[in-house]
């Protein structure tokens, strides 16, 4: 039995696509033929650059400003994307924040802000797209997790909690909808060279078996694969893109 093909006129939504890994994911999905909704919270110039790169490569991109950490943000974003680009067949929950500190000194705000963006937005966005995906008998949700969560990283208890929870959410949501041709997977990047990691000492790269930081494009390649029809039998998985760090 073959899986249904991706619906005509459907699009991909990438949150936090103004820079770094999200921007690379948006470009990779556009290169695979998806019209892409480029979401950003505050970096309008970055989102414009992502969209311009997609369009100059012959793809289609539309920019959507939304703070997905706000309780109503995800539903509003999904409605706006739907109105402009049609059915969302691929959702990439990429938007993420850090607010580092030792667990014994984290403030409630630092805890809440990280959970709101990294976990709660992932849940609310997934909920908002799943109904249509199960009707279409096709859908791809890809949640950007991290090696931090499955593994410890001192100073990131809030981040680790959020990313471990994303993996747990991914597994259970995946089995709930698996028989409708909808897959939900996580991608867990390791040390990736982006704005978000530029303050991390380069000596850390020496701990990576590959002896270097990864690139956003290397993470995007994994996401594009999971979004494709070729990945139809992969669901509930976590794909590590970490140069062997978690091996």
């Amino acid at each position: 039995m073959s899986e249904p093909a991706r619906p005509d006129g459907a699009c991909a939504l990438v949150t936090g696509a103004s820079r770094g890994i999200g921007a690379a994911i948006a470009r990779a999905l556009a290169a695979d033929g998806w019209p892409v909704a480029v979401n950003y919270r505050s970096d309008a110039a970055g989102a414009a650059a992502t969209a311009a790169a997609i369009e100059s490569a012959g793809g289609r991109a539309v920019i959507f400003q939304a703070d997905v950490a706000e309780p109503q943000g995800p539903a509003r974003l999904v409605d706006a994307v739907h109105a402009e680009l049609g059915q969302i067949s691929v959702l990439v929950n990429n938007a993420g924040v850090r607010a580092d500190g030792l667990a014994l000194s984290l403030s409630d705000d630092d805890w809440q802000r990280v959970l709101d963006t990294n976990l709660h937005a992932t849940y609310r966005l997934t909920r908002a797209v799943l109904r249509e995906m199960i009707r279409a008998r096709f859908g791809r949700v890809i949640n950007i997790a991290s090696v931090v969560g499955p593994r410890a990283n001192a100073g990131q208890a809030n981040y680790a909690a959020s990313k471990a929870a994303v993996i747990g959410f991914t597994k259970t949501a995946a089995v709930e909808v698996a028989r409708r041709g909808v897959t939900i997977n996580a991608v867990a990047p390791g040390l990736i060279a982006t704005d978000m990691t530029e303050d991390i000492p380069t000596v850390l790269a020496e701990r990576v078996p590959a002896q270097r930081a990864g690139t956003p494009e290397e993470v995007a390649a994994a996401v594009a694969f999971l979004a494709s029809e070729r990945a139809s039998y992969i669901t509930g998985s976590t794909l590590y893109v970490d140069g062997g760090l978690s091996a």
Binding site: R131, I134, R135, E176, V177, R179, R180
Partner: protein, 82 residues
């Protein structure tokens, strides 16, 4: 909808959905228990969407939890669509 749907119209939509979900068409009747038709919570969530689209009737999770048989579903939608 301008006019409330008939019980027959509702039954047709519900039956078609149940068949789509994999229920045996010969086993579907008003008295058939959804559990015996292998209709589960995911199917009921999708059925709620179909009912909302077709008849403009929104069913809450607690409404859906009360539905045990095909007849329960038809009667509930008919009542709400009045």
């Amino acid at each position: 909808m301008a006019e409330a749907p008939t019980s027959e119209q509702i039954e047709k939509v519900i039956t078609e959905s149940l068949v789509t979900f994999g229920a045996d068409p010969d086993a579907i009747s008003r008295d058939a228990a959804l559990e015996e038709l292998d209709v589960d919570s995911l199917d009921l969530a999708e059925l709620s969407q179909v009912i909302e689209e077709q008849f403009g009737v929104e069913l809450s999770a607690s409404d859906v939890a009360e539905i045990k048989t095909v007849g329960d579903a038809i009667d509930l939608v008919a009542e709400r669509a009045k």
